[in-house]
Every structure is written in C-alpha cells, then in structure tokens.
C-alpha cells in the first residue's frame, strides 16, 4: 500500500481538525469523498462497473459461467473473487508486490459477499447438484488513494446490479439425458436482486474520533493499523458504520436505477471520460 510521509505538525493539524469534525479537504467525519459510478463499461462481461472515489479507481467485471454446485450446498450457485492489484495503481504492486494485498482483499470479499444474506445464491442454481451459475468477479485496482474496501464493495454491488445472466432451461430427453438449452433472444436474461448486497464501511480512528473514507494522509495519522481499541470505541464505531452504511446504500441504489432507466440513450463515459 502506498505510504505517505507525514510530519508531526501535519499530524497534529489533521487530528485537531478531526476532533472538530472538519477534515483537511473540508469534509465532516462521516462524509465520503466525491464518488463516480458507471456500469456496463466492459462489453464482453456479463456485468461490470467502474467506481472512482477520490482518486481511488476500481473496475469490476463479472463473468457468469456454468459450473457444478458445491456438494454441501447442492441447490446454490456461488461467487469467486479475484483481485488484481496492477502496477498501474501504484508502483509498489509491480512484479508480485500486489499479491498479498490481492489475496487479502479477495478473501475478505468472498466472506462478505458469498453468503445467503448478501445474495440469494439459490437463484444461481440451474439444476440442483448438477449445474449452477458461477459468478467470477474480477476486481481490478486502477488507482489507489485509500479506502479500497469501500470502493470495491460499491463497485461489486453496482456490477452485480448490472449483471445479466442468459436464461437457460434444462430439457430432458427420453432416457433422462439432460441438455442445457439457451434462449436465442439476447434480451431474455435473469437479473440479480442486490437489495441486500452489503456495502463495506471502513472506519479509521484518528485521535479520539473516527472517520470514514480516510485519505492516505489521515490513515497515516491513525497508528497505521497497529495498537489497540477500547470496547467503548468499538461499539461507537459499529454504530457509526451502520448509520453511514444505510446512508450510502439508499442513494447508491437510486443512482443505479436512474442510470438503468436511461437505457440506450445513456452517453457512455468509459475510461477516457
């Protein structure tokens, strides 16, 4: 992760600001930076989204493929995550530099998203025990400017919202052989319900208070992830997280719906916009 050097004076300035609910870039403690979302940006995926948060830029692509359900949960499909920390985002990722972070991120994402509370995995089942949809979710870090988890979670949610899985039905012949048949209408496809898909809210303890969507500078002020927290403040932070998460979710869904309603008239921005 990109590290920034912060001087003592700067640190004091930032901590005092946070104490007074006024951060260096003018935000309050529970405010996010400016966020931009665009879906359907990669045409050869089944669903995709690009999210920028401050200077952090994330691209998520989802490919749906037919696979075999896991034996324990025969009537469910599943998700798979892969996070690619490209050297585009920061020079430190060059070579195998981003692998560790990538694994950490994808493990977290798997834990957060691949469960029944997040998405109804049963809708991904085609025929129990035999065929199900596997959603391969590829996350690409284009630029790192702090708060990766939140940005990625928003992008994944947007991409899931955008995902269209071709409708299939199983036809059975006389001897019971099963064959997957595909609808020839490209508009005939299945959408996922993303109402319950969570957004991750990362809180950062700066001094005695905590902030959401910390910039790299703010993060550098917060002990760099080491140290301990007292139970009191953990409780407080959880409460804040809940509040902020709700406030993030509603406008996000609204934006996605609005974009969708534009249909083909929407001017695509893409990567050069």
């Amino acid at each position: 992760m990109a590290t920034v050097q912060v001087s003592e004076a700067e640190k004091v300035y930032i901590m005092h600001g946070v104490r007074d609910d006024l951060r260096v870039d003018g935000r309050g403690c529970e405010d996010y930076r400016h966020m931009e979302i665009e879906t359907d940006v990669v045409s050869n995926t089944d669903g995709s989204a690009k999210v920028t948060l401050g200077h952090t830029a994330i691209l998520v692509g989802i490919k749906a493929e037919i696979g075999k359900p896991r034996p324990m949960v025969a009537d469910e499909g599943f998700l798979e995550f892969f996070v690619d920390c490209s050297a585009n985002a920061t020079p430190e990722f060059e070579g195998r530099g981003g692998d560790e972070l990538g694994t950490e991120l994808s493990n977290t994402l798997y834990k957060v998203f691949n469960n029944r509370n997040s998405i109804d995995l049963r809708t991904l089942c085609i025929s129990p025990g035999e065929h199900c949809w596997v959603l391969y979710i590829d996350v690409l870090l284009l630029q790192c400017d702090g708060n990766l988890f939140d940005a990625i979670s928003v992008a994944v949610k947007a991409a899931l919202f955008n995902t269209r899985i071709p409708k299939v039905h199983i036809s059975e012949d006389e001897e019971g052989g099963k064959e997957i048949e595909l609808s020839d209408d490209p508009y005939d496809c299945m959408r996922l319900n993303v109402e319950n898909v969570p957004c991750i809210v990362t809180l950062c303890k700066v001094g005695h208070r905590h902030v959401v969507d910390a910039t790299l500078l703010e993060k550098a002020c917060s002990e760099g992830g080491r140290g301990s927290l007292d139970p009191e403040s953990i409780f407080e932070m959880t409460e804040t997280g809940k509040r902020v998460g709700k406030a993030l979710h509603a406008p996000l869904m609204e934006v996605l719906q609005k974009e969708e309603s534009l249909g083909k008239k929407r001017q695509k921005v893409g990567f050069l916009g």
């Binding site: 045409s43 050869n44 995926t45 493929e65 037919i66 071709p166 299939v168 997957i180 020839d184 490209p186």
Partner: protein, 948 residues
C-alpha cells in the same frame, strides 16, 4: 463509429459463452447506382436503363429480394432477364447460413458482370444498421433490416438527378413483412405477382418454385401420405434405436419398391426393404431417411416384377399394382421390411428428363418424367408445354406435400431437343455428375503466363536429361501425352530404363483454385467425341504434354536393369526432357519390326520391348490376370461427327510394352511413398472377389466340361489359359469377358486407413497411380508425396492428414466410377446413332447369359450386348422353362445354353424417345412363333418387332 454486437453461444463442452464482436459502421459505403452523384463510386453496378417490361412497375426499377426469395426462387434470379438487383448483406449472410449450395450459386451470379447484381453492405452502413430490439426475433430483425435498407435506397436515390422515375421494388413472399413494408410506403410485391407482371417474358413464370401457398390448389385435399416426424423426434428415435437412419435407394425397375441402406458399425450394414407408396412416404432416391421396421409378420420379399409408373391413374389401379407385389414366398426369402417415417436430409438436385404432356388441352400443369427411372415423376407448371415437347429439360423439385401423389417442381432450363448429339451428351454429363463447365477465371488465373519458358532457376533444381533419347508411344490423336520412355546401354553391360512422367504438380500448387478444381473433377472424362479435361487445356495439351522436340518438365523414374529384366537400382528425380518422337502404337510397332531401321529411337524401343516381354511373362507367372472386355472404337465422320463405323480395339505388342513399364513405375513409386509415409500414402488396391462372385463363371465353364479354379488369382489365370474348346476360338475370350464381370472395383485408399493393400488383378502386393497426372488427380497427389520423399518439393498439412486424404480418395473413387458410367452411356448412345443410320443388321452373336425370360447376346463384331426377350405384353407368351443349374432356358422345344451361337437382327427401338434402345430379335435358331424372318434391308424393316 463503433458498435458492438453481443450474443450468447453454447460451447461444445456445454458451457455458455458471451461473445462480443466489434462492429464498425461507415459512411463510405456507396449505393452502386449509375444515377447517384453523391456516392463516390468508381464503377457503379446498377444501370440507368434498368428496364424490364412489367405492368406493375412501368418505369426503371431495382429489385431487392428477401432471404426466402433467394433461397427458394434462385432459378428466377439466375435468369439472364433479371438484372439490376440489390442483394443486401443481411440476405447474403442469412443465405450463407442456411444453404451452402445456394450461397455458392448466388456468389456466381454476383460475380457475373452481365447480371448487374450489387451487394449492399447494409449491416455496416451507418444509416441502415439496426440493432435487435427487445422481444424481437432474429428473423423479424432481419426483415426490418431489409425494409430499412429498402427505405434508405428509395430516399437516397430520390435525391439523385434524373432518377424521379426510379423505383425500389422489394420482393417478398412473407405476408407480415409485406404488410409492414406497405405501411412504411415501400413498393413491395410478392414474387409471383411480380414475375407474372413481366408480360414480355411469360416463360419466366415456369421457373417459379411452387411455394406452400400454391400447393393447396394443385391437388385435392385428400391426404395420401402419413406425416413426416419432426427432426427432434427422429433424432431421439435414432438414439434409442427405434428408428434407423439410411440412404434411400429407389429400385430402377419397380417404382413401388426401394431399399434403405443402413450403415452399421463394421460389417453390420443392413438393407431395409420398403414397399408400397404409403411406406415409401415421399422419399426420393438418395435422400437420407429415417425408417421404422415393421413387425416380423409383415415382412415381405423383394418382388421380381418390373413396374413402371405409367402416369396419373385411378387409385384402384394403384392398389392393384401394389397387390401384384405380394406373392407367396418362402420364409427364407423375407427381408427386413420397414416404412419411411421422416426425412433427415433431402438430396434433391435438378433432374434431366422430358415433359409428359397433360392430355387436357390448354392445361398448364404437366408431369415430368426424369431420365433416371429411380426418380419419381414431378409435377410442374408451364405454359410452354407445346414448345417443350420432345425437348430434354431440367426440372428441380420444390417440395412434396402429403396430399400430392407427385412432388411439385419447376422448370429450370431447356437442354435441347431429345436425340440431338449435344443435348444427349449434356444429359449424360449432368446425370453422371461430371463437372463440365468451362474453367472459371479464378482457376485460369493460376495458369502460368504465356509465353512460358524454362528458366535458369528451374534448370538448377532439375536434372538435365535433354540428351536422352526419350520417346512417347500413345494411341493416335492423343494430345495429352503424360508418359515417355527411354532405354540405353550402360558401360557395365546393364541397361538403363527411364519412365518420364509429365510434372503436373510443378504447375498445380496445393490449395489454389486450380488445384481445388482438379481435385473436385478427379479425372479427365473421355467420351466418344469429346474430352472433358481435368486441368485447363493450356496444361493438358501444351505445357504438361510431353510432345516431341520441345523441352518439358518431367518426373523421372530411372532403373538400372540387367538383361534378365531384374531391377538393380531405382532412383527418382525431377528432370527436364526433350522427347525425340511422339509415336503411335502402330508406328512404334513398325519401327521395331522393320529390320532396316537402326536409329537410336528404334534401338531404344527394341530394348524396351525385349525387357517388357520378360516382365510380362514374369508377372503372369506371378498370377496376374489378363482379362478381356469387348471394347469398341467409333470411326467418326469428320464432317457430321456421326459414327460411321465401329471396330473393336486391337492390341499390339507395343501397347503391352508401354503398359509393362507403367506398371513397373507405379509399383516402384508405391513402394517408395509407402516406405516414406506409411500413414498417408495414396495407394490403389483391388480386393479379391468373394467366391460367390465366380458362380456364373463356374457354371458357364461346366457347360463346356471345363473346370475353372478360382482359389487364387494364379489358379484362375492358369485355368483361363487352359480353357479352350476345339473349333470355338472365341470361347476363351468369352470366358475372360465373364471373368471380368466377376471382379471387384479397384479403389484408391489412404495407407493409414486400411490394412489390405493387395492388388488382385495385377498380383502385386502394393500399387498406386503415378503415370497419368494430366488426367488423374490421384497421380498428382502421388507426385507430391514422391517429391517430398526425395526432397524435391515442400510438403503441406493436408498432404499428411490421413482423414483429409481419405475424403479425397472417396471423391476420386466416386468420380472415376461416374466417369466410367458416363463413358459407357456415351458409347451406348453412339451405338444407337450408328444403328439409326444403318437400319437393320443381321449379325452372329453368342449367348452371354441366360435369364428367366430372356437371353443376353454379345455381338463380337460390335462388342455390343443386347437382350432378346421371349415375353411381350401384347401376345401369347411361348412356353418357357428355366433351369437354374445349367443355366438353360427352354423356349418351346429349343434349349438355350450359355455360349450358344445365335443369329439376331439388330434395330433401334425409338418408340420411347426418352429411353431409346437397341433391340435384338432372334433369327436363328428358328423357333416358330418366336424367331423372326431375316428382314430385308430397307426402312420397312425398322419396324420389325418380335411379333411381326
């Protein structure tokens, strides 16, 4: 502008894949019209004076056909009258998807500059590209694309000067599409409507394919045939083996009977018998069909009755003839019997034949009788019946609805009047599937540029053999000389013999259009007065032909041979030769025999001849067969090209001299390429016939108290040599003719796909064809293999692919078989012409076969075979007793044996123009009421029939 086209596809492994293609839209796609000043096209295809006289659109108009029109009414579009047509890319793509043959024909039309067909790439034009909408089927989208393009055209050309009159006419048979087009203000007609409006050219109407709309009116609504099963049911049935899949083969002699050849695994191929119209269920010869076996108690035996469909008749009668098929037979004769339940693939092609004019005057619906008796009659609609009478015509089948007794079809083209030499040749070429069109420009473009000369470069790569005294020996009038020979003494006392074969593979490079065309033709076809070349004439008669006194490329096979004709060494090389003489067999023979001639060529010939005799003797000792077939040559009148005389082929010593060395070269090459490429050598084999094939030969010999041993080729050859009857010199030849009929067909095969290489007739363990690359494609492949083996040329992937080679072999075998049939048909036709000009002839002949109700007689003088029937429809039949064992046939009191000498009168039976044939009637021995009196020469005699 970039768009992307997205679609989902099922992968072979069962997965689902989303595929995205980039799709670019452009502004620089021109409309192709001469009127247009906006488009910056260089040579517009669509003309200004695009006028056909039509009472629907009187002014200039361009046509836009939709996909179904192209698929079903291509014969109309092919007509030279139809010009200035816009073919949309949407249509072309759909056609390509649906039918490869139609697509190819469409491409040919488009390339024909005379036709003025313009392909408009509407899918890439910014203003005519449309995206599929929600809940729109692919077909609806394409129809919309066609309408949008038509609309664009009419608006675009409206802006052009002088084009006020111009109309864009959309042709479609789809009702929904037509309505929508009407709504958007397009000029749209149904195909029939438009074609019928072309008042100046009524004959076009005949070429309309009958679409399902019209079928109802043609026949009564009574359903004659059971419904065909849908393809999905058929597939399921075949999978569960309740149904069998096979190729439908109609019987030549009985229109109510057919067999379906079911290809099983290994030797398990079976034949299923189908009897009766209902069970035949509209299958046509060569279709791939699904059959269901009937329960065992309904099985029948193949009938021996000859039944021909006499045209329309009452159903009672039909039933009657179906009943005729059923006769009491023993259990053992029963064959698996079934019924056709569905058609998997139609194999319809345009058929040659003649019109069977309806008796009703002014009728427009007529039956068409195909020349091939295995094809049912076809109902066509034509207004030019009177003009087509007595003409050979071509008709295509459009469909066979279940309430129609005959399939519906449409007139394709007129080939000319029946009996005409050109027409009949055309018919026999078409019926035998011999590709005989002129070579296309694409093919000709791969020919070497003239003037052609051998370059320094070429000389470096090849051995210079120009100094050798090489000569060729061929039949008279041969222009495609592909083999030459030489023989010279070596210092060590041995002889050097070389066979030099035209190096065709130097000119025909793998994979190009010329190569593909040659591979598809497979062989040159020799008809009586015409040769259909496998390669363009520049190669066959000039650059490849090893003519005398010109330098030519050759592929040489050179042996060192001692005076006992034992091969000491063999080598192969690409070379340059300069033939010193092109001789005929007779000329070469004269040189050998003339003791005064002592030049190099003659000495070389004598050396070759001497060696050939030893080689032949050794080959025959090894068990090679010398068989015989009565071959005839026609003397053709140089003015009229009519045959004026025929003569049986005469074999000279020199014939067999050339043959010996060709065999030797073929065997040496076969060994070499097999050693080098054991998996993909192209070889030729001749399987030993099964013992039962020899039955007829054995019976025939027994009748003269001679025993023929058929255990091996050697035994057969020896017993044939010994089989002689005093005072009957022709007997041996007759036996050999019979033996030839017992043989199997020799075939090409790929060494990697087969284990049995033996060539039975030549008694050689391995054999191939190397010596005639100008006229056989197999030899070209063998040349390429050999060239790779000696490092003289590069290889290419298809050459080493045994499956591709195997497919190629199948095509070559098919083409060779068809070429042979075409050749025979051509000889038969010329024999007829000959007898037509001669009137009746009385000739001696021998009985070749004895049948239940006839004898088959061979006339050695003409090499002609004919049947003398003892039964006829319109008079009392003589008393016939047939003894299978003899076999003998006793007519009244005279017994006919095989090889009996008879005298017959030969005449041409022209009562059926479609199937003219030579008719023979018995003169001697005289049997009252059966034989005829020798007719006087003269026109009177032509009518002579059995019953007088």
């Amino acid at each position: 502008m970039l768009k992307s086209k997205t679609f989902v596809k099922k992968t072979r492994s069962g997965g689902v894949m989303k595929i995205v293609r980039e799709h670019y839209l452009r502004d620089d796609i021109w409309c192709g019209s001469e009127f247009c000043v906006e488009c910056k096209q260089e040579s517009p295809v669509l003309q200004k004076d695009a006028c056909i006289e039509s009472n629907l659109c009187s002014s200039t108009h361009y046509l836009i056909p939709d996909t179904n029109l192209v698929l079903h009414q291509l014969d109309i579009l092919e007509d030279p009258l139809i010009r200035n047509v816009i073919i949309l890319q949407t249509v072309l793509q759909e056609v390509r998807h649906r039918s490869a043959p139609v697509y190819k024909r469409m491409k040919d039309i488009i390339h024909d500059a005379e036709k003025h067909f313009y392909v408009f790439t509407n899918e890439h034009h910014r203003e005519t590209f449309i995206e599929r909408e929600q809940a729109e089927s692919a077909n609806d989208r394409n129809d919309r694309a066609i309408r949008v393009a038509a609309k664009w055209y009419s608006e675009h050309l409206k802006r052009a000067p002088q084009a006020e009159e111009l109309q864009i006419v959309l042709l479609t048979n789809d009702r929904g599409n037509k309505e929508k087009a009407d709504e958007s203000g397009l000029v749209v007609y149904k195909c029939e409507e438009y074609i019928k409006s072309l008042t100046a050219n009524p004959e076009l109407v005949d070429r309309l394919a009958l679409t399902s709309d019209d079928q109802n009116e043609i026949t009564s609504s009574k359903i004659l045939f059971p419904e065909h099963l849908p393809l999905s049911r058929i597939q399921a049935g075949i999978k569960s083996s309740t149904l069998l899949q096979g190729i439908f083969r109609a019987s030549r002699d009985n229109y109510l009977e057919a067999t379906v050849f079911v290809h099983g695994e290994g030797d398990e191929s079976t034949e299923v018998l189908i009897q009766g119209l209902q069970n035949l269920n509209r299958a046509v010869y060569q279709d791939v069909v699904a059959v269901e076996l009937l329960p065992r108690n309904q099985w029948v035996a193949p009938s021996s009755v000859v039944l021909q469909d006499e045209g329309p008749k009452d159903e009672d009668k039909e039933e009657e003839s179906e009943n005729m098929l059923k006769c009491e037979v023993s259990e053992a004769m029963l064959k698996p019997t079934g019924k056709v339940v569905g058609i998997i693939k139609r194999n319809w092609r345009p058929f040659c034949g003649m019109l069977f004019k309806s008796q009703i005057k002014e009728a427009t619906r007529h039956l068409f009788t195909p020349a091939d008796r295995r094809i049912p009659r076809i109902r066509i609609e034509t207004r030019q019946a009177a003009a087509l009478e007595g003409q050979r015509i071509m008709v295509a089948i459009d469909g066979w609805p279940k309430h129609s007794r005959y399939p519906n079809g449409h007139f394709v083209r007129n080939l000319g009047s029946a009996g005409d030499k050109e027409t009949e040749t055309e018919v026999l070429l078409l019926e035998h599937d011999v590709p005989h069109q002129a070579f296309s420009q694409a093919v000709l473009s791969f020919l070497p540029k003239m003037p052609w000369a051998i370059t320094e470069e070429d000389m470096k790569k090849r051995e210079d053999l120009r100094h050798l005294c090489v000569c060729s020996v061929d039949p008279p009038g041969c222009t495609d000389i592909d083999d030459t020979l030489h023989c010279q003494d070596l210092d060590n006392g041995n002889l050097e013999v070389g066979v030099h074969i035209a190096d065709v593979s130097h000119f025909i490079r793998p994979g190009n259009a010329l190569d593909q065309e040659a591979a598809s033709r497979g062989t040159t076809v020799y008809l009586c007065e015409r040769r259909i070349d496998m390669v363009p004439e520049l190669l066959s008669s000039n650059l490849c032909s090893l003519r005398s006194n010109v330098e030519r490329f050759a592929f040489s096979c050179i042996w060192e041979i001692n005076h006992n004709a034992e091969i000491l060494s063999t080598r192969f090389t690409k070379s340059v030769i300069n033939s010193k003489a092109s001789l005929t067999y007779a000329e070469a023979q004269m040189r050998i025999d003339d003791a005064h001639m002592n030049d190099d060529i003659t000495k070389s010939l004598r050396g070759l001849n001497k060696l050939a005799k030893i080689l032949k003797k050794r080959r025959i000792e090894g068990g090679a067969l010398t068989l015989s077939s009565p071959e005839v040559r026609f003397h053709i009148d140089s003015e009229t090209h009519d045959p004026i005389d025929l003569q049986t082929k005469e074999l000279k010593e020199t014939n067999s001299m050339v043959e010996e060395f060709m065999l030797l070269a073929n065997i040496s090459v076969a060994q070499k390429i097999y050693d080098e490429f054991s998996e993909c050598a192209l070889l030729r084999k001749h399987p030993a016939p099964p013992p039962s094939n020899y039955d007829i030969l054995n019976k025939a010999a027994k009748s003269k108290d001679i025993v023929i041993h058929t255990d091996s080729a050697k035994a057969l050859a020896d017993s044939l040599d010994e089989a002689k009857v005093d005072g009957f010199t022709y007997f041996n030849t007759l036996l050999r003719i019979l033996a030839t009929r017992c043989m199997m067909q020799a075939v090409y095969f790929c060494s990697g796909m087969d284990s049995d290489f033996h060539h039975y007739g030549l008694a050689s363990p391995i054999y191939t064809h190397f010596t005639s690359p100008i006229r056989r494609y197999s030899d070209i492949i063998v040349h390429r293999l050999l060239a790779v083996a000696i490092g003289a040329d590069t290889t290419y992937p298809d050459l080493m692919d045994k499956h591709k080679q195997s497919t190629l072999c199948n095509n070559l075998n098919y083409r060779h078989k068809m070429a042979q049939y075409a050749q025979r048909a051509s000889v038969a036709f010329h024999t007829q012409l000959f007898f037509k000009s001669r009137g009746n002839l009385n000739e001696d002949g021998f009985i070749l076969f004895v049948r239940k109700n006839a004898i088959i007689v061979l006339i050695p003088k003409f090499g002609l075979e004919g049947t003398v029937f003892f039964e006829s429809k319109d008079k009392a039949n003589p008393r016939l007793t047939f003894d299978e064992e003899g076999p003998t046939l006793t007519v009244e009191n005279h017994a006919f044996h095989m090889f009996d000498k008879v005298k017959v009168t030969i005449s041409l039976d022209a009562s059926k123009i479609q199937h003219q044939k030579i008719r023979m009637a018995l003169i001697e021995p005289v049997i009252p009421g059966v034989s005829v009196a020798p007719p006087e020469d003269g026109p009177e005699a032509k009518k002579a029939k059995l019953d007088r």
